[in-house]
């Protein structure tokens, strides 16, 4: 996907610049933006490292597991079509908690295991079950509590209070997740 988008963006840009007479600006930009990219990476390096250091403590001390277990009762309500003792529950919980903490590398493997577990009880292997669809929608509705990357970018571009967006961002995340679960349950109910 990015293969086409990326090349397309540059080609369209150059083509348009031929008509708008901005060829010189485009040439200068190629140098400037590559330099800016490295400056940006160096400044976000500190923030991202600090955050993943903290998150590693959370993971090593079993905080992710503890929180995952606390989620199970809620998940049993949302995924009422899964077997009571399905292994998928544990993986779904880990995926959601890891996503909340922005631990993408821990979230994806758990999420895929959850899908594999759900696929075992699926009668039509090429068709997604209701539970799979609901899980995917929750997964894609954004769950992250603190988007450290966005805060680091804001800091780099001179924001006075880079972290001021945490509160509004979290409220919005909760809203979109609730809408996601609501829609998913509605679609699942209707397709029964």
């Amino acid at each position: 996907m990015l293969n086409y988008i990326w090349g397309g963006m540059i080609l369209i840009g150059i083509l348009v610049s031929a008509f708008t007479g901005n060829m010189e600006a485009v040439t200068n930009t190629t140098i400037q933006s590559s330099r800016d990219a490295i400056t940006l990476c160096i400044t976000i390096l500190g923030v991202i490292s600090m955050w993943s250091g903290m998150m590693n403590i959370a993971e090593k001390s079993g905080l992710i597991d503890t929180l995952s277990n606390k989620m199970l009762p809620l998940l049993k309500i949302i995924f009422n079509e899964l077997d009571e003792d399905s292994k998928a529950f544990k993986y779904i919980a880990t995926n959601i908690i890891a996503n909340m903490f922005g631990l993408g590398y821990a979230a994806t493997p758990a999420g895929i295991k959850a899908m594999v577990e759900m696929q075992k009880d699926n009668k039509h292997k090429e068709v997604a079950t209701n539970s799979m669809c609901i899980f995917m929608i929750i997964n894609m509705s954004s769950l992250q509590i603190v988007s450290m990357n966005i805060i680091a970018y804001r800091a780099q571009y001179g924001s006075i209070n880079p972290s001021e967006i945490i509160g509004p961002g979290l409220i919005t995340t909760v809203v979109s997740t609730i809408v996601g679960v609501g829609c998913a349950k509605f679609f699942a109910y209707r397709s029964r």
């Binding site: 090429e126 509004p168 809408v179």
Partner: protein, 177 residues
């Protein structure tokens, strides 16, 4: 709205307290774990470096050539109709398709309008409360060879649309635009 800004300032310290308290009570070596994690974080940044260079280049070319402006103007009829900031429309669409390409457009907005502007705050909140759909869906469903994904796309789009609309609303309410 005092409460929301207080909350924003408190959440990182609170997360730290919870993590450290839990770490001590489980008797793990906190400092070692922090250092290991920090190294991993550095690796992540080094890994995304080429992506950031590539995409800032692409967005830079689009902006300098005037193409981004033309696109924004073309979409302005649509966004005026629904009261949506024009300049954020390309980013909003890109967000659904590619996480890294949308970061390129986000940084362009920060550079042009500033992160503390109406637009800068809105896109910050929007980016932190929406998610890339196409890529995630294909990774998960392909891993178990499911081809009929039924209502997944519709549900995910609705969830993200609500995230976009609500972030616009909350930006206006919290920052009084």
């Amino acid at each position: 709205m005092e409460f929301i800004s207080l909350f924003s300032n408190m959440i990182i310290p609170v997360v730290f307290i919870v993590i450290l308290y839990n770490g001590y009570s489980k008797k793990i070596d906190l400092y070692e774990a922090f250092k290991d994690g920090a190294v991993d974080g550095m690796k992540v940044v080094f890994e995304i470096m080429p992506t950031i260079i590539g995409l800032m280049l692409a967005v830079g070319v689009l902006r300098a050539s005037g193409a981004l402006q033309i696109l924004t103007n073309m979409l302005s009829g649509l966004s005026d109709l629904i009261g949506f900031p024009n300049e954020a429309l390309p980013l909003t669409f890109m967000r659904l398709v590619s996480s890294s390409a949308s970061v390129g457009l986000l940084l362009d907005i920060f550079e042009t309008y500033g992160p503390d502007s109406y637009l800068g705050r809105f896109v910050s909140i929007m980016m932190s409360s929406t998610e890339t759909i196409m890529y995630t869906m294909s990774v998960y469903f392909m891993s178990i060879k499911v081809t009929k994904t039924r209502f997944t796309l519709a549900g995910a789009l609705l969830a993200n649309l609500s995230g976009v609309i609500f972030s616009l609303y909350i930006t206006k309410v919290v920052y009084g635009y």
